[in-house]
């Protein structure tokens, strides 16, 4: 469904952030992208929705080549790609509802969005999504009144109301505590399977990557150094991605079960 071929990004500073990355991601796959800071994970997902313009290579989403689109065609294409951000990136002075509805901006005209007169189907969907993540009662709160975990749930709603084919998730659990991190990852995983969504999740935490994804890609200095099943992350592989370290405590033990309650 998504094909990256020879994707390369050289920043104006001369730094080569991506060195010809090629990946093919089938529909419905949840892929975790791991790697040390500066490996190019953020650049990679931003090259897909072109928040960062790739230097060369191609990105094809459902037969549509994204790297050469005009700006209006790009805006249309961006509607099909929901993005979830590190540190939430909610507009803090807007209400929860406005933040969620901002996911529909690509579908409504300027004046409608200016007067916050969204179609009733959008409003219903927004309430439905907020209810799904347990935040329906917070709709009129300002985003900066929410806790970290709640904010990220709103960020998830904003991405999902776009009705995307693809989710781009950038470090969703950075700055969240371990329990909330797991809840957020589980929520993303569940929503992806409910909706048959394809997702690329950048994540620092190897343990979470193993727990919540079907495929892991390891990136190091802009190149793919591992691509395979989560179970395949052996100490040798982690050393290849991150460098020498004692990995024995990081790797998921054979069948760890984790049945915490979701509490909102």
């Amino acid at each position: 469904m998504l094909q990256l071929s020879e994707l390369t990004k050289r920043y104006n500073t001369g730094e080569l952030a991506l060195k010809g990355v090629s990946l093919e991601i089938p529909k419905g796959q949840v892929l975790a992208l791991i790697g040390p800071s500066g490996a190019g994970k953020s650049t990679l997902i931003r090259c897909i929705n072109r928040l960062v313009q790739p230097t060369s290579g191609s990105v094809v989403l459902k037969e549509l080549e994204l790297t050469k689109l005009s700006s209006s065609a790009l805006r249309r294409a961006r509607r099909r790609m929901g993005m979830i951000f590190q540190e939430y990136a909610l507009v803090e002075r807007l209400t929860v509802m406005e933040n969620v509805l901002s996911g529909r901006l690509g579908y409504v005209g300027f004046w409608r969005s200016y007067f916050r007169k969204f179609p009733s189907a959008d409003i219903q969907e927004a309430y439905r999504l907020l209810d799904r993540v347990g935040l329906k009662h917070m709709a009129d709160k300002r985003a900066d009144e929410l806790s970290g975990g709640q904010r990220q749930r709103v960020g998830i709603c904003r991405a999902l109301i776009q009705n995307p084919d693809l989710l781009l998730v950038d470090e969703p659990t950075a700055s969240l505590d371990p329990k909330t991190s797991r809840q957020i990852m589980r929520l993303i995983q569940e929503l992806c399977s409910e909706r048959g969504l394809t997702a690329i999740i950048n994540i620092h935490d190897v343990f979470l990557a193993q727990m919540f994804s079907q495929r892991v890609v390891g990136l190091e200095l802009g190149s793919v150094v591992y691509d395979g099943k989560p179970e395949g992350l052996t100490p040798e592989v982690l050393t290849r991605i991150y460098g020498e370290e004692d990995w024995s405590a990081t790797i998921k033990s054979t069948d760890e079960d984790d049945d915490e309650e979701e509490d909102f």
């Binding site: 805006r75 249309r76 990136a89 807007l94 579908y107 969005s113």
Partner: protein
């Protein structure tokens, strides 16, 4: 300490590194600055005799201010005040309306380079001329009266408001802007949803502050023919009606104080 086998190799004193590392450059700046200030003071020709002569004149001048006379020219006085308030409000509204497009264009993260340079040029031009110079131009163009004052204050507002708006936009959170852009929003939606909420509180505070400035400046532009309370003040001075002038100054001070209170209250309220 008994066990200090390793510690004696560490230094026992520490000083914060100086701001300017090169000690020659540092002393050159300090000594050079001191010499320059002394020389500048020298060229002022400060003459104690002249100060002595001036003090009794100041005394007489101040005496003639008291008691302030609110009654004799009551009609002109209130007319002037009303005109100044009207000028201040209209010029603030018009100035801000003009500042918004200029300010958006002058923010590096919103506009392409040529728009940025053009808008920065407008701001620099507006900032170069103080309100009184703008008022002199406007009086030459449109004749005496409050319209000239209004034009001068509105143009002056652009340099102030557009610059601060642009700077606030440049300091706004890039991640919030990126998140809204990623939804497929167009440029106007993007500004409305991600930039505007971030800069709005400060901009509301600044517009009340600018209203306060424009009211004060209306007293200045009046002196060169721009109407308002400045014209009244100028007339009373040229007629040697210092008691009326004192009354006008007191009213200006009270109104400015009231506006200052309002603007600080507004700033807290919009946070």
């Amino acid at each position: 300490m008994a066990d200090s086998s390793g510690t004696d190799s560490y230094p026992s004193s520490w000083k914060k590194a100086p701001f300017i590392k090169n000690s020659f450059v540092r002393w050159l700046l300090i000594v050079g600055g001191a010499i320059y200030l002394a020389a500048a003071l020298g060229t002022m020709n400060i003459d104690i005799e002249r100060v002595k002569e001036g003090l009794p004149r100041a005394q007489r001048f101040l005496d003639s201010f008291f008691p302030p006379n609110f009654a004799d020219n009551r009609g002109v006085l209130w007319e002037g005040i009303a005109e100044s308030i009207w000028m201040a409000i209209i010029s603030t509204v018009a100035g801000i309306a003009l500042s918004i497009p200029v300010g958006l264009g002058a923010a590096r993260n919103l506009a392409p380079a040529w728009v940025y340079l053009f808008c920065r040029g407008i701001i620099a031009a507006s900032r170069t001329f103080p309100e009184i110079i703008l008022a002199i131009f406007a009086v030459k163009l449109f004749g005496f009266g409050p319209f000239a004052g209004f034009v001068a204050l509105a143009l002056g507002t652009i340099g102030f408001y557009a610059k601060l708006l642009a700077e606030d936009i440049e300091n706004s959170s890039a991640s919030q802007a990126e998140a809204v852009k990623a939804t497929g929003a167009n440029w106007f939606q993007w500004v409305n949803y991600s930039i505007q909420p971030q800069v709005m509180p400060r901009m509301i505070g600044l517009s009340v502050y600018r209203l306060d400035i424009n009211f004060r400046e209306s007293a200045v532009v009046g002196i060169v023919g721009g109407g308002g309370i400045g014209a009244t003040l100028n007339t009373s001075f040229s007629r040697y009606e210092f008691d009326t002038a004192a009354a006008i100054l007191i009213i200006i001070i009270l109104i400015v104080m009231a506006m200052e209170y309002t603007s600080s209250f507004m700033r807290k309220w919009v946070q």
